[in-house]
């Protein structure tokens, strides 16, 4: 019987924009428009999308780092939304985060030991010796030396820094790790090291990942399930193999087709995107993707497609023409 580690229901987050003129109505950035998904224990859940689709906002809201407008985030069955910062502190040991920038996410004035031990503050009551032991243990598990504790971040390369960041996230033995683009700032050869490490850690400790990335190949490599986001909403989600083999939303298809392939002399045949991104500051009836969609019809302008199951095995998509898309992919 598997347990649900993270359950997000109808999460909404709109940021107010500074007013343009005194009389204008207030404007918002619609960063999250009702996002729902859940992650089972020990699984990796990937969230893919282009810049401005709301994936980082989602990470910050799941981590309870900013206030949520409405909706619910349950981590290990406990509601996180609405709790005060202090009320939440003891619960924080169960969910930790890894950030994108291996240079910006480590305080240059702290030693590695201090950086890695920081989340233990949520636990409180640990002895010095216990702390040191856990730091040493977690550093070895990410492939660093226990003697690295007294070094400073600037003595490490980007990939090693990201290992330090992962060690910091692991130290409280969390159930959930939210990783926001953890490898996108790294070189390919180093990126592979970190991806493999993330996989190994999952095998060893059974951690659950919520993995955010713009790189589809990385998500395919690491994740069991994937959700594709577009302008603050999930447009498709499902098992990785289903979604990548039979994309049911045109946007997913276009994303997949846009990835350049490192193979000898093939000119790929692909669906291309037209138009440019509709602003995140607009809210309209109908499908948000219709302006760029090669297969949009009048129906798409009139009726907002709901996220619905399009295939067995939990393959969901928010498109009126998902069945056609799947048919096309299998043909």
């Amino acid at each position: 019987m598997t347990k649900t580690v993270l359950e997000v229901t109808d999460l909404v987050r709109h940021y107010p924009l500074p007013k343009e003129s005194l009389t204008a109505p207030p404007r918002y950035v619609y960063a999250l428009n009702g996002v729902s998904f859940s992650i089972e224990e020990g699984k990796s859940f990937g969230i893919v999308g282009e810049s401005g689709c709301g994936k980082s906002t989602l990470a910050r809201n799941v981590m309870a780092l900013e206030s949520t407008d409405s909706g619910s985030v349950k981590i290990m069955g406990k509601e996180v939304v609405g709790l005060s910062f202090n009320e939440l502190r003891p619960h924080r040991q169960h969910f930790q985060m890894v950030f994108q920038d291996p240079y910006g996410s480590l305080d240059p004035h702290h030693t590695v030991g201090r950086i890695v031990a920081e989340p233990l503050a949520a636990l409180g009551r640990l002895s010095r010796q216990e702390k040191d032991e856990r730091v040493a243990e977690v550093l070895t598990s990410v492939g660093l030396k226990a003697t690295d504790v007294s070094k400073y971040p600037h003595e490490f390369s980007g990939g090693q820094r990201q290992r330090i960041a992962i060690a910091r996230a692991l130290i409280t033995r969390p159930s959930l790790i939210v990783a926001d683009e953890p490898v996108s700032a790294l070189d390919v050869s180093v990126q592979a090291q970190v991806l493999n490490l993330l996989r190994d850690l999952q095998d060893d400790f059974g951690v659950t990942y919520m993995f955010i990335s713009h790189d589809l190949a990385v998500v395919e490599y690491l994740c069991d399930e994937v959700a594709v986001m577009y302008l603050g909403s999930i447009v498709e989600k499902g098992k990785t193999e289903d979604l990548f083999a039979r994309p049911a939303h045109p946007y997913t298809r276009i994303l997949l087709d846009a990835v350049p392939q490192p193979a000898a002399g093939k000119k790929r045949d692909r669906i291309r995107l037209s138009g440019s991104v509709t602003g995140q500051t607009e809210r309209r009836v109908g499908c948000a993707f219709r302006d760029r969609c090669p297969m949009a019809t009048d129906k798409c302008a009139e009726e907002t497609p709901a996220l619905r199951q399009v295939e067995d095995g939990g393959h969901f998509a928010a498109c009126h023409y998902s069945e056609e898309m799947i048919q096309r992919a299998t043909a």
Partner: protein, 316 residues
């Protein structure tokens, strides 16, 4: 109206109102009774009370504050306690010295700063750059009133080129007045100019490292053309900020410098008035000085919008 403009304008008004309250309060706390100072310690109790009443000092502070402000709104500054003449008469002559002096030194310092700053930046790390920056460091360190004294000793006492102090009045002709203000203006401008020159240099150097400067060079623009066409305008943004802040210091400097050169400007007026406990003069003059600073900064804010189109889009 745009939010940008409205916001800045409201800040300007709020600052002025706040300034008037602070100035008035300070003058209220100021020990020393104007009537007592005017009549001297030997004056009789009755005479002091009579004068207090005559000056309107028996009214409550709130009443006097609003009296002052409403007077100001109607262009009435009131009468000096000490000299029994309208404050405007005292201030008018002083303004005719301080304002030209401030403008002269501002022009001088900005010219100095831009020439030195740009030249140094263009010759980055060469001997001329290092020498100029050494001198500017020295310029920042020199107290302006001491520089004023040195200038007097050298140009007025030894060389006898320029008058050592005093002001002939504008009736004496532009040239005479210009000569009287030249040394004080140089004394004021040197320090300000040295600071601005350093800011200009580092700002230009910083902009030189921007990606769009590389783009401009990749287009085939020469170093010099890049400096004038692409670097300068962007580099002016921080320089402008400092320029606005400097104006307050410049005005403050005039208070001291006027003292050195015996110029009957606003600075001398305010010092004299404080000594006389001529509170109404102090209030008006200090508010005027604060007003000049606030208006200058308002103009600087508007200039931003002219230089930087990003501001216009967001706020204008």
């Amino acid at each position: 109206m745009s939010v940008f403009f409205a916001k800045r304008f409201l800040t300007l008004l709020a600052t002025l109102v706040g300034a008037s309250v602070v100035i008035f309060t300070v003058m209220e706390i100021l020990p020393g009774d104007p009537a007592l100072v005017i009549l001297g310690v030997d004056a009789s109790e009755d005479a002091i009370q009579a004068l207090t009443k005559e000056l309107g000092l028996d009214k409550s502070a709130v009443e006097r504050y609003f009296g002052w402000i409403f007077g100001l709104l109607q262009g009435e500054l009131g009468n000096s306690y000490a000299y029994k003449v309208p404050v405007w008469e005292l201030v008018e002559g002083a303004l005719k010295i301080t304002v030209p002096l401030a403008i002269m030194s501002m022009i001088l310092s900005v010219t100095l700063a831009l020439v030195i700053g740009l030249y140094a930046a263009a010759n980055h790390n060469k001997t001329s750059d290092i020498t100029l920056m050494g001198f500017s460091q020295l310029g920042i360190s020199v107290p302006n009133f001491w520089l004023a004294v040195l200038l007097i000793i050298f140009f007025a006492v030894n060389l006898r080129w320029l008058p050592p102090g005093g002001f002939p009045g504008w009736e004496a002709g532009f040239w005479a007045c210009f000569k009287a203000l030249l040394l004080p203006a140089i004394a004021l401008a040197t320090v300000q100019g040295a600071i601005l020159a350093r800011i200009t240099r580092s700002s230009v150097l910083e902009v030189y490292r921007e990606d769009y400067v590389r783009t401009a060079r990749a287009k085939g623009l020469s170093r010099r053309a890049t400096l004038w066409l692409h670097v300068l305008r962007n580099a002016m943004i921080p320089v402008l900020t400092v320029m606005g802040l400097q104006f307050a210091n410049l005005l403050a400097g005039t208070v001291v410098i006027e003292n050195v050169f015996h110029l009957p400007g606003l600075g001398s007026t305010v010092l004299k008035a404080i000594n006389n406990r001529d509170t109404i003069v102090v209030e008006n003059v200090v508010l005027m000085l604060a007003g000049m600073v606030v208006v200058t900064n308002f103009v600087v804010d508007l200039l931003y919008a002219v230089i930087d189109p990003r501001l216009k889009a967001h706020d204008l």
